[in-house]
Amino acid sequence: MFAVEAHNLVKKYKDVQALNSLNFKIEQGEMYGFIGPDGAGKTSLFRILTSLLIPNKGSATVMGHDVVKDYREIRKISGYMPGRFSLYPDLSVEENLQFFASVFKADIQENYHLIKDIYSHIEPFKKRRAGKLSGGMKQKLALSCALIHKPEILFLDEPTTGVDPVSRQEFWEMLGRLQKDGLTIVVSTPYMDEASRCDRIAMIYRGDILAEDTPEAICNMVDGELWSAAGAQGYNLLIFLRSCSECVNVYPFGQEVHFQFHGDHENMQEKVREQFPDVILREIRPSVEDVFLNLSADAAKEKEVLNG
């Protein structure tokens, strides 16, 4: 049995199509990531999987339970951490945890070992109101609350958004340990650099899964060589490269410009250096973000063609 199975999931709102016929399977014990920008449909997908929304078409199961029919079962076995902070700001850390434990009929003492690793970070502040915690501590508390009833599967919707880099690092390490204990974790994030933490990732963009594989395999999906050009005149460099017929998928990447190249390097390097003497050109290994930018550009073009 798969932990999660989705067939042709479609979700429409009044004037937006949030999900276009998604298909995927998540193994038990896997850490599976949905990577995509804001508005890709991640939250809609998570809400369907946690039985909070009904899909317009298609079906999905979580631990073998249908997300529409068996919503009661799903609510018992899954832990969910919504994207928005959803604890009570006027309740203290301890009171929030107690509340969620009682609502799920769980015993804090009995399940303390599940959250010890995480909760111990915030335990010194247990009398503090949740609204006064820092972003990272809020997320740790929310994770503790989502774990306290010993779920079989954990859904985390953008758990690291708005969290400082150190806390993000810590957070992912905690998730890694939870996974080792046998928990299936489904997580979403807009940060491409976090993708490597997952066993498998699905790149989601405008309601479509562009690619699904292990992070390494995803990185190898770029065909041709990927080059990076860095120079003082970033914008002119971008315009110039876009005008070259040998360069495809030219896009800005931080301070640099990344592009795919077909043909002879020497020739190309010379041509660029003629225009931009200070430019640093090198061939690079594609990152998840490169793949995403590549694929999403293709997808956008395809849509344009279709809409014609």
Binding site: R47, T50, S51, L52, L53, I54, Y71, R72, R75, K76, S78, Y80, P82, R84, F85, S86, L87, Y88, P89, D90, L91, E95, Q98, F99, F100, A101, S102, V103, F104, K105, C145
Partner: protein
């Protein structure tokens, strides 16, 4: 059960942590009771009056004495100049001026017709109306006594049943209970449920195994407690501070009040299911319910005086039935058999609100 206690605990913490709102909730009945009991007084006592007696004979003096000794009026000034009337009204010192024409007694005895003029300050129309009626009544009485000095062929005796002294506060106790039940039970519950939607915490609660009725009951129960404690405060203040009698069966009285509070709570739940944010819930409760409860329930303005279409509309507001029933039990001491219709209507409304709420309560996000 453990789930419910956890929920209840959490909800109570919310209320206690919000200290200012809590104080408002607990002190409101006391303050409103004092305001309604003391300040809003519709009885007339010692209204300022001026008398212009151009005749100054026995008869005008007798009439003046009668009026001044009635307790409703207090002599402010005796005037002799017509122009002073205007001044007095403008200064606001007197509400009424009584003018006797010259040779009042002589004209009465010889011609059989004597004229007295009553001038009233009608910038407050109800008050002016009452003053003029009182004055007319006193003068008419005087005439009857004068004509049949010893033997009165016709004796009119009036008595006000159930509220002998026409105390306004008797009327306010039922009205205030209705008002506060609406305010606390309906408005506060609808706001507190929609707050969870607005803050996104509803999402976290919905994914729990809690059933809808457990969520709703957990949210409502603390407010039911507050409403009950307010009810007790009002009832106690009513008898001990204002001397309102509770003539009927105390259990029946409490039962009617509790039923009304439960109805108000279900109404609050219903409002929360149809409104998506706190502001909307508050506007519906305030404009849609609180104002009509005050204006259309017969609490302040008698329903019989309203135009027909307003009377029909007043039928849909539960406070109307509650106030009728409570007055019957409280002041008239009537039993269940006299008010079963009202009780049935309130109960029916409660079931309707609950039924629709349960049907409309979303177990998912919309």
């Amino acid at each position: 059960m453990k789930q419910f206690i956890g929920f209840f605990r959490k909800e109570f913490i919310h209320i206690i942590r919000d200290f200012r709102s809590l104080m408002i909730l607990l002190l409101m009945p006391v303050i409103m009771m004092l305001i309604f009991g003391y300040a809003i007084n519709m009885d007339i006592k010692n209204a300022g009056i001026a008398i212009m007696d151009m005749s100054g004979d026995d008869m005008t003096r007798e009439i003046s004495d009668k009026i001044l000794s009635s307790g409703y009026f207090e002599l402010n000034e005796v005037i002799s100049d017509q122009s002073r009337v205007e001044e007095l009204f403008k200064e606001g010192k007197v509400k009424e001026v009584l003018v006797f024409e010259q040779d009042f007694a002589r004209k009465y005895n010889s011609e059989g017709v004597a004229k007295v003029q009553i001038l009233a300050d009608a910038s407050d129309p109800n008050n002016a109306n009452m003053l003029v009626n009182y004055t007319n009544g006193i003068i008419a009485n005087y005439l009857i006594q004068k004509q049949f000095s010893e033997f009165l062929p016709l004796q009119v005796q009036s008595r006000f049943r159930y509220n002998e002294n026409l105390e306004s506060v008797y009327m306010f106790v039922p009205g205030l209970i209705a008002l506060l039940a609406m305010l606390i039970s309906t408005m506060m519950t609808s706001i507190s449920i929609t707050r969870e939607k607005e803050n996104g915490t509803m999402e976290a609660i919905l994914v729990s195994p809690l059933k809808p009725w457990q969520i709703v009951l957990g949210k409502v129960a603390p407010y039911a407690f507050i409403a009950l404690s307010n009810l007790i405060v009002i009832l106690l203040m009513g008898t001990f501070v204002f001397g309102v009698p509770y003539r009927g069966n105390l259990f029946l009285l409490l039962a009617v009040c509790i039923l009304f509070i439960l109805m108000a709570l279900s109404l609050g739940i219903l409002i929360s299911t149809i409104s998506s944010n706190q502001l909307m819930a508050m506007i519906i409760s305030m404009v849609g319910l609180l104002l009509p409860t005050i204006l259309l329930s017969g609490y302040i303005f008698p329903i019989e005086n309203m135009p027909d279409w307003l009377q029909y509309i007043s039928h849909i507001f539960p406070a109307r039935y509650f106030i009728t029933a409570l007055k019957a039990v409280m002041l008239k001491g009537l039993g269940f058999l006299y008010i079963w219709k009202e009780i049935l209507i309130i109960f029916g409304m409660m079931m309707l609100f609950l039924g629709v709420s349960i049907k409309k309560f979303k177990i998912r996000l919309a």
